[in-house]
Amino acid sequence: MINTFVGNLGHFMVILAFVSSLVTAYSYYRYSVASPLDKPSWQRFSRIAFYIHAIASVSIAVALFNIIYNFRFEYFYAFSHSSRSLPIHYMVSSFWEGQEGAFILWIFWNVVLGLILIHTNKSWEGPVMVVFALVQAFLVSMILGVVIGDLKIGSSPFILLRDVSNAPIFQINPDFVPEDGTGLNPLLQNIWMVIHPPTLFLGYASTLVPFAFLMAGLWTRRYHEWIRPALPWAIFSAMVLGMGIIMGAYWAYVTLNFGGYWNWDPVENAVYVPWLILVAAIHTMITFKRSSTALKTSIVLVIASFVLVLYATFLVRSGVLGDSSVHSFTDLGLSGQLLIYMFFFLLVAVWLVARSWKHIPTSTREASVYSREFWIFVGATTLGLMAFQVILPTSIPVYNAIIEMFGGVSNMAPPADQVEFYTKFQLWFAVALALLTAIGQFFWWNKINKKELKEALVTPYIISLVVSAIIITLGKVYDISYIVVVLAGAFTIVANATILIRILRRSSFKLAGGSLAHMGLGLILIGVMFSSGYSDVISINMSGLTYKKDWEDELNKENVLLWINKPLQMKGYDVIYRGRYKKVRGVSEYVKADKLASTDQVNEAIALEDIVVGDRLYYAKGDTVRVVLEENSYFKVEYYQDQKHQFTLYPMSQPNPTMGLISSPDSKNFLSQDLYTHVSAINDYEEPEWKEDQIFEASPGSDFFMNDFVTRFEGGEVLDELEGFSLQEGDVAVQANLVVLDNDVEINLKPVFLIRDNRVGRIPDVNHDLGVKVEIENIVPEENKFVFKVNTYQKDYIVMKAMVKPHINVLWAGTLLMLFGFCVAIYRRYDEFVKMRDKGLE
């Protein structure tokens, strides 16, 4: 049965949200310009309008989630982003896998932020909410799904599958509902993908707040008063956006196969750039609060950060990146709408700024080199240059698109080695930033002169030299540019720690945000240097037995082929691949795949043997077990050093019908390094192509070779009962006990030969790991011999890559410290705002 109600409700709510946002914008505009006498009634009306908008927006989300949660596959969104086998927390990921869901998430956060602003501000409420409501109108229009003639406005998440698909089934039966959806992209089936998108979108949404305050300020001619309420929000936004970026990086590190946390992919760059600009904006805003300089710079930076978020959205969602990015979304035909959205706010902002430019106070005083402002300004400039360096080449597909739009031909492509290209600039900019923060922080209390500065810097300078020397010696950092990175990182950590200690001694902790965040930057620098600069591929075949062609000699083979059970010597470790495993709900360890037989039910299997871990019996033979995402196989790889087992890793892989082989790495985390392992190719396992029959004759106690394995025929035995088969009077069932030796493991194979009324039945035994199928072809009692028919195929193998990432924990620690610093700063600035507001000096 097709349930059209929930979709219609959802679509109605979209329209209601759209209309109510326009009404809110208009009524808040009237409120802002109304006379004091009329204000209360306009305010009441505006708030109600926004509340209606809020309820409608939340209802959109509820309706969409209902569709996903109840497996309403008659809807295209549920069909293409979800499936029955998904656990509930991944249904949440399905929600925002599609673009429409992502927009809903964005709308939702804006609603939350809007409600907070309404209730924390007094005089700012009107003008700020006008901007908010307009942004909401644009966002809701993205999911409006209204078609007027040839014009399509927005892409609705509530369309039915039958309206999208040309599948012939819908002509026969319009009420057809597919059994199951196509499922969530397996790469997104990760806990970080449940929390990363909401965080990132909260970051996106919150860049609106400082922008809205700025627009309100320019409009109502409060050219500098907007900074105080905007500042805590700007820091909040930078914190959340930063957190979202780091979660994304961490997700990439634990789920994706490219072997790192940051790849300079256009999609990553598109969020990194607004973040840099936002951080620059925070710094100039702080400068303005202290010394009334850099107001114009702050204004430009706040606008830039907001517009860059829209530009990022455009890049990622318009399809313009095309073949230059791994994870750009498909084009839903929203590019035009996204461009209008971006240019509308850009032009309004430029117009408002141009109108007020001559009224904006500037400081004519030249900033002294011995002032904080000067150094912060240099720092903000550096951040701006960093952003410029990244956005310029990232936009290459946009230039091509523009040139082609005017009929030209452009064959410009992004840099071939993105990591190298971006790193060579960004690294040195980051070193410069680290040094600037170290020096800049010493102007904390007031201006100091050259002599005082020298005195203040001398101690941290010496300590950081000592610290660097220790790091360089212990970490064996002998590359000159890396040594510079260590020095800069250590200097900023030590210098900011000095400041931190002084702050803690003299005043309150809430002033410490800056120094904490800057110490985080130092740690990040050092962590990035080690984990990337000294990342070492250890999956190099050291056994001496390689298959290289002559001319391949200079190419490094970074993958190794591991045959099952066969040890291989790699750099630093011996490794053995032990076969495929599955994750079973409730069982503390992975379960060998051939202990389970899959059933018709999704994620359900029958245990073919007892499942025992340690002393505990989890499932008995014949029990039904719940498999966690049955498509996922975990490949057991044991690591040895000096013949001793060190640890075992289970990198994941799933052959996906639409996406090919999807693999996720597994890492062994040590305090000082991570050992990262991933599968790059696997054997075709499910439907082997058996090679031609081979016939062996063997008498009990003798050996023969089967697929190169020594096989011992221990003897035959007559069975009294046969599993899955009821033996009748007069039946004879003979089982042959074969033991196959593969390196250090023995595998028992037990084919059965059955005689009933002169008819013969043969039950083969198959082992997928070894790639053998063996049958008793015949029994020759006279000669005391069994005749075996053996078929073989490729024994199981994996091709894998492993690398060591030293000191990656320093990087994660640095990011956490930086985020914590942001939080302290938010608290301080918000506290200031509240105190001033309550004094009536909002």
């Binding site: 698909s165 196969n257 360096q389 992004p414 639409t658």
Partner: protein
């Protein structure tokens, strides 16, 4: 000269440096003929070539050779002009490679016969989202 001016000049200088390097390091889309001409002229910068896999009449891929240790492979690719070229890739065969409708190889000629890809991007047909892209790069 004021400090502000010096700073401004510095910023402009760095910005110009960034623009020049970006243009210099930007790769380009070529076909095999122009790529080979570049290589013969001593320009071994990696370039992008867009094309498809060589297929026989029945649509199955021909010329895919996997090395014995399965860690690298060569294949035959036809660029947009239809020129055939053997391409080597020093990574295992990406799953679904044979199904790719379009491949983009990023790399350069090693010698006149062989193009070595540093990175391969594939476009695979999928049920509804026909422009799904996958990177086979590592």
């Amino acid at each position: 000269m004021k400090k502000g001016h010096i700073l401004g000049l510095g910023v402009i200088a760095i910005a110009i440096l960034i623009i020049v390097t970006s243009i210099g390091d930007a790769s380009s889309y070529e076909n095999f003929a122009t790529a080979k001409a570049m290589a013969l002229n001593g320009n071994d910068n990696p370039i992008h070539v867009v094309g498809g896999l060589k297929k026989d009449g029945s649509g199955s891929v021909v010329g895919l050779e996997v090395s014995e240790d399965k860690t690298s492979f060569t294949f035959l690719m036809l660029d947009s002009e239809g020129q055939e070229q053997q391409v080597y890739y020093n990574e295992p065969v990406p799953a679904d490679f044979a199904r790719a409708e379009q491949v983009v190889v990023i790399g350069s000629y090693r010698n006149e016969e062989l193009f070595v890809a540093d990175k391969i991007l594939m476009k695979c047909p999928s049920k509804y989202q026909e422009t799904d892209l996958q990177s086979a790069s590592l």
